[in-house]
Symmetry: C2
Subunit: 397 residues, 2 copies
């Protein structure tokens, strides 16, 4: 029998990163390629205690089907978290619990995107979003991202050129760049979007992981109601417990719920209860402070090793939080060729190409600092610096 | 801002059943409307023990991201289960762990269905499958289902009329009808499909819940490799732990993995480990035997109460397993009108209409027997019989 796959099945490629990760799992490779939280940060004992409490207290209720919207106390906790941190006036009815941000983005694509619809994304942009959206065959259009945030003149030009259905942004410690939007940029982006028909989608998985500088309000604070915010417990509790959320106006939640029902009925119910129990009975502030300090040290170690070992022609971002930093090689130097050379000396990263939808990014690369200890970071960057010097000295093709 | 939803968001309706369930949650209502396993059957203590073992033994590994394909030992267990039970020669590479059958069906729709593609389904058919497929805008075509199974002459006629992309069937204790395919029907359906381009999708959530008769091999035993089988732990362990699987040829698994990656990266990792620990360290055979005996008693109680209390013009199926039975009222009697009358006397069911894609089924209804104890079943059917006699005596509109 000949397989006749759908058009969308041919449109979506297997993640380049996941393919790279297979190569880089050799124990002799120091890998900055992945995007994993540091497992040393997982609250294993607290989760074990929460699991016991939930199963002994809630019994069979913890193992039964539940509503698509999510475990009600967890939805309330998430709404309250926005109100406590930023006074956003979010109600639990505006929260849909999902199986992580990847599903949140997929559901938004399902609910909003017809083939050919225009979506604006940062340049470079989060690969998972590019992949999730591509299933729905949109036109993906980049808007340049700088040290200040999304370039507002370019955003206005892109909105004027043709109507956009959606604008997808990651304002804090973006993956892959590590860049954040300044306060004026947040305000200006919202001003540019106000009165347009484009839906603002603000994905904020790393907000809690700020290890430098001052926390800035989400775009929603400037934009007002009507935008969509995405969040997750992947970086602060556990990514294996696949739980994230969408915060959106009720008429959007209603559509998302209908399509989530068709997609998987609801997210794992036992995990939602365990997570809620953990959040309400553990010292989560101290736990997050521990992660911040850990990632801050690891980022600093990487930055100082780069300053010491990498050629001065190589530019790089200095993140105030999150898990990634971004390097730009001199024009004409290929990060794909550097990748082969780096692998030969036992270090790996992600070449920048997959984060671009316009064929650019050949001279860029992403480094993850969350999932290596400081000794391996120093050693890995020293190896990378060596590979870079060789590549820069090699004849350009 | 005006919301501009996608075409597919308008194509999919919120589940009629979920809406009904809201009405029927009043404590004075005896509800046969839901589709819930009996919580008395959940192995709470064994799951609690498994959770402790996993977290204390595997530690942070149980909370980290994992591969999209699923927890490798769980994939191996599922493959081995097919080989032990039916000698199917399945390898772990043919298994993708999903967040339950609803996601399995959604992913198959994503990978195979372009708008307008033809999918053949039983008449009546599983509502969750209808909803999941509708997202991809197919042409859904019914093939009649009888006491023997899918009507093979009608299947051949439907295949001859126009090429079908997929044939979706539930051969054991189907939801909603409670009907199963006989051995000759299994063979004949496979003969009719062999050599055609239509992909055979065999959804089998209830196989383990047989309380009468002889277990029959899956269609795959007759069809040979090339078909797709769907399974779940929802009915034998816990539906709240959202874990099911697809068993399919590697080239299909490859595409499903790519689109699952874009949809949610992977299913809950902690739950997969807990489930695997439970499956390999508990007396699951004794546990399933307990569920079988319970559902068998509940089904028998419902059948004898129907014989005693319901008008003889009302026909009904006599399931050999599963969770549902199906009633057919005399032609011209509306189960929607009966629903209102039944609710007034404190009993609920699901009117049959949503299980049909051709506008039929108005005189049919589904009863669930898994989630009520025997006393409530007797009382509920007595109430239902009263409502039926009233409705049959009322002037037909």
């Amino acid at each position: 029998m000949e397989m006749r796959f759908s058009r969308r099945a041919s449109a979506v490629k297997r993640s380049f990163i996941r393919e790279i990760l297979k190569v880089t799992q050799r124990p002799d490779i120091i890998s900055f390629a992945g995007g994993l939280p540091n497992p040393a940060s997982f609250p294993v004992a607290d989760i074990a205690r929460a699991a016991q409490t939930v199963l002994s207290r809630d019994g069979a209720a913890a193992l039964q089907y539940q509503t698509t919207e999510g475990f009600a106390p967890l939805r309330a906790w998430i709404a309250e978290h926005y109100n406590r941190e930023w006074n956003l006036g979010v109600s639990p009815a505006e929260i849909l619990v999902t199986s992580g941000p990847q599903q949140s983005i997929d559901l938004l694509g399902k609910v909003f995107i017809n083939a050919g619809d225009r979506i604006l994304l940062e340049r470079p942009s989060y690969l998972g979003a590019i992949q999730a959206f591509q299933v729905y065959e949109p036109e993906l259009v980049h808007v340049p991202l700088s040290e200040e945030g999304l370039d507002v003149a370019s955003l206005r030009a892109a909105l004027d050129e043709a109507p956009a259905k959606m604008v997808y942004v990651v304002p804090n410690f973006q993956n892959p760049s590590g860049l954040s939007y300044s306060e004026p940029a947040r305000r200006a982006v919202c001003d540019a979007l106000r009165g347009r028909d484009a839906l603002l989608v603000e994905d904020d998985p790393y907000a809690a992981l700020r290890f430098r500088g001052t926390p800035l309000p989400p775009l929603r604070s400037y934009y007002g109601a009507g935008s969509v915010m995405l969040g997750t417990f992947s970086k602060t509790v556990s990514p294996g417990i696949r739980t994230g959320w969408v915060c959106a106006p009720p008429e959007i939640i209603e559509r998302l719920v209908t399509l989530k029902q068709a997609a998987d009925l609801h997210s794992d119910a036992l995990s939602q209860r365990i997570l809620h129990e953990y959040l309400t009975t553990s010292d989560t502030a101290a736990h997050i402070e521990k992660i911040r300090a850990m990632y801050g040290r690891q980022c600093d170690t990487m930055l100082s090793a780069i300053a010491e070992h990498c050629p001065s022609e190589v530019k790089y971002t200095r993140p105030e939080g999150g898990m990634f930093l971004w390097m730009t090689l001199p024009e004409g130097v290929s990060s794909l060729r550097l990748f082969d050379r780096a692998l030969a000396v036992g270090v790996a990263f992600v070449p920048g190409i997959p984060f671009y939808v316009d064929g650019g990014g050949d001279n860029t690369l992403r480094l993850n600092f969350s999932n290596s200890d400081e000794a391996r970071i120093r050693e890995g960057i020293e190896r990378l610096g060596k590979a870079m010097r060789e590549e820069l000295a090699a004849p350009r093709r």
